[in-house]
């Protein structure tokens, strides 16, 4: 057990999986010699060589598409999109081919690849470096869409993603990359894809969040607790396939739900999460479902990015508002 940042935890997952399995390769822009712009792939080239840790040409579509070819031909590529805002070049390959190859070939071929990408606002980056477009990927059948919230689950989820037989888009909240540390076990640990989990128990209101927003949701929960309000906080972890059991069950106990994400509000994941609650727990609801999200504007340049992002205050107010309904 060692305390580590999410960067270190992701690096540990890659090291261990490359050590375990020769078919695991890492490829992307600047991932080998420099160890990636965020150093997630640091040291991998030294440990496993340039044949397995590959600095590719600057070409996101080719990075995704060659990964598809590699995966069909027996490898498990873990490719990196340097920022999710540049992954749209690769969207065509991920939607048209990675997600469809198993289906199109009727199971003859499958694409066990992972496309890692830093996403989200909060690190004072340039335009196109702060978006949160998980809904795009989550709406594609055949793809899995994973967003870890902290170092320990990030490690466990990445190991599971690498071992998964289907293509996984793995969003890494860059605001959480170095923001805090957690104990991460040295021994192998996995977190199953397609599961969400309760991270804080409570009986008054259910707050559903993921990625960098989970910490803010937990801060809001602590603040509510000072007034004797116990929020149950759920970490979604996998956006698709979405595991709705923990939060729909929780809402049956609390009767109130607040959904938090930094993606824009309209057509964002909160819509799907809320509808699952309506389908499964409608008769237990005591108040309208609330959502605290990014606004339906472009993510502002970084001087104003915190104005765009949900914060603990907004989450807390939404929870109190849900509780004030009778």
């Amino acid at each position: 057990m060692a305390e580590m940042t999410m960067i270190q935890a992701l690096n540990l997952a890659l090291h261990q999986e490359m050590g375990n399995d020769e078919s695991v390769l890492v490829l992307g822009e600047d991932v080998a010699q420099s160890g990636g712009v965020f150093r997630v792939t640091d040291g991998l080239k030294d440990a496993y060589g340039g044949q397995r840790v590959i600095d590719t040409p600057l070409a996101e579509s080719a990075i995704a598409a060659t990964s598809i070819g590699m995966a069909i031909n027996g490898l498990k590529p873990v490719c990196e999109m340097q920022f999710s805002g540049f992954s749209y070049y690769a969207m065509h390959q991920l939607e048209n081919h990675a997600a469809r190859m198993r289906w199109r070939s009727r199971g003859r071929y499958h694409v066990p690849m992972v496309a890692r990408m830093p996403y989200g606002a909060g690190v004072k980056a340039l335009e196109h470096h702060s978006e949160s477009k998980e809904a795009w990927f989550a709406s594609i059948p055949g793809l899995k869409m994973v967003v870890p919230s902290g170092p320990r689950v990030a490690r466990g989820l990445l190991v599971s993603a690498i071992r998964d037989p289907d293509p996984v888009v793995f969003f890494e909240p860059k605001a959480s990359y170095r923001a805090f540390k957690e104990d991460v076990p040295d021994d192998e640990e996995t977190v199953a894809l397609g599961t969400s989990r309760v991270v804080r128990e409570g009986e008054d209101v259910t707050i559903i969040a993921y990625g960098a927003m989970l910490r803010r949701a937990l801060q809001a929960a602590e603040s509510l607790a000072e007034d004797g309000i116990e929020a149950e906080v759920i970490d979604v972890m996998t956006i698709s396939p979405l595991d709705d059991a923990p939060f729909t069950e929780s809402v049956r106990r609390t009767g109130r739900a607040v959904i938090v994400h930094e993606a824009q509000r309209s057509f964002g994941p909160a819509g799907e999460i809320a509808f699952r609650i309506l389908e499964r727990s409608f008769w237990w609801l005591e108040a309208p479902i609330r959502r605290v999200t990014g606004y339906d504007v472009q993510v502002p340049f970084f001087a104003r990015e915190q104005a765009y992002l949900p914060d603990a205050d907004r989450i807390e107010r939404a929870a109190r508002s849900a509780l004030s309904e009778e």
Partner: protein, 463 residues
Amino acid sequence: MHRPTVPGWPRITSRPAGRGHRMAAPAMGRMWPNRTTTSVGLVVVRTGDIGPQRARSDPGPRGHPGSGPVSGDAEDASAQSRTDETNDGGCMPRDEMTIDVALERLVVLDEQDEVDQELLPDLDDEFLRRLYRTMLLSRRFDERRLKLQRQGRIGTFAPAIGQEAAQLGAISAIDDDDWFVPSYRDTTAAIWRGTPLWGLLLYDAGHNEGAEPPEGQKDLPIAVPVGSQIPHATGLGFAARYRDTGEVVLTMFGDGATSEGDFHEAVNFASVHETPVVFFCQNNQYAISTPVELQTGSHTIVQKAVAYGVPGIQVDGNDVLGVHVAAREAVERARAGQGPTLIEAVTYRQSVHTTADDPSTYRDEEEEQEWMERDPIDRLARFLRDREILDDDRRQQLEDEVGEEVQAAWQEGEQRMQELTDPLEIFEHVYAERPAYLEEQREAFRRDHEAAQQNSTGKGDDG
């Protein structure tokens, strides 16, 4: 409107290849000499010394630092410019850098039925007859499919008519254990690989089952978005090299696909990593209605190879023997670890783009007629007759055989289609394991479907 049949090379002079082989004097109307190497003296004028050739910190995937098509002349140029440094940096020198590249053009059996004996590949009679039979079968199959489409029995498809030699010359150069990454027009190649005609018909009739490659056949299903399959070949090749499987990957695409970013990304990536891939472009002159002149400012497709630092060869795509020679060399190079090749097969889409297309709106009959006269199947037939490999009787016999085969394929396809009625099939093969929500949707669909069937049979009225 009359367009040159083959993109010209107006700015490039050619000379015979230095193989002791001399081409015959070009006959009237001949498209090109049999095999020529074109030396492209690219002159790059630059100002100033752009710095020393940067040494790579490690040998890199190509294994030789500073590799690439830039010849030693670049160093000379550098050296020369350094002599100008006495100018105290105030005057930027301007000098020339020569990039030494060679591109080839090749034809073995030309449209005048002349054969280049030296280049003629050593193929036994049985193999040659099989080439002919496959081309004929592909042609008759396409003709039948055009009728089936008009009758509404199958949907939209893209005929290979006119391109049979291009596809076959290339596909016959790879082994069964190699990979084939096709576009949507590569029917002749698919037939050669062993895809049953009824399987192709299932696809045409809108059944997913038709996309599944036959067991043991290392073909990807056809890719519909133009050019998007090309980088898959690069990845397959990368894995083949990494795993040391000895496999070569052949991918096919058209002239239009070379305008897509994926073509560029795929060939560039393959060149850098020397993956064993043959990039095979069928320049059939049109992308739907857009002629190749509006597709690219390059005089040829093959010259793009220069920019990527890979060998390139242009072949007469209606000469199955020439294409085979070019493809076999490319395959051998790939198998020997020498990386990818770009082949441009110059051919013509004699028929429609797809059954939704009307070529009369963008090209004239005269042009079509010219290309009909270069028909690849007729050309091989004359060659086989002249060599007494296939006489007229045997040829007629083959016609009858393939006619029956096409007919039998439709019957088989129709029968299978009648068995493929289970709509629950739409929920298969989305993920390795079906997620809970999808299982729920499938169950809901099943209930709705059963209820609807009961209603339609009147059983639902009893309650």
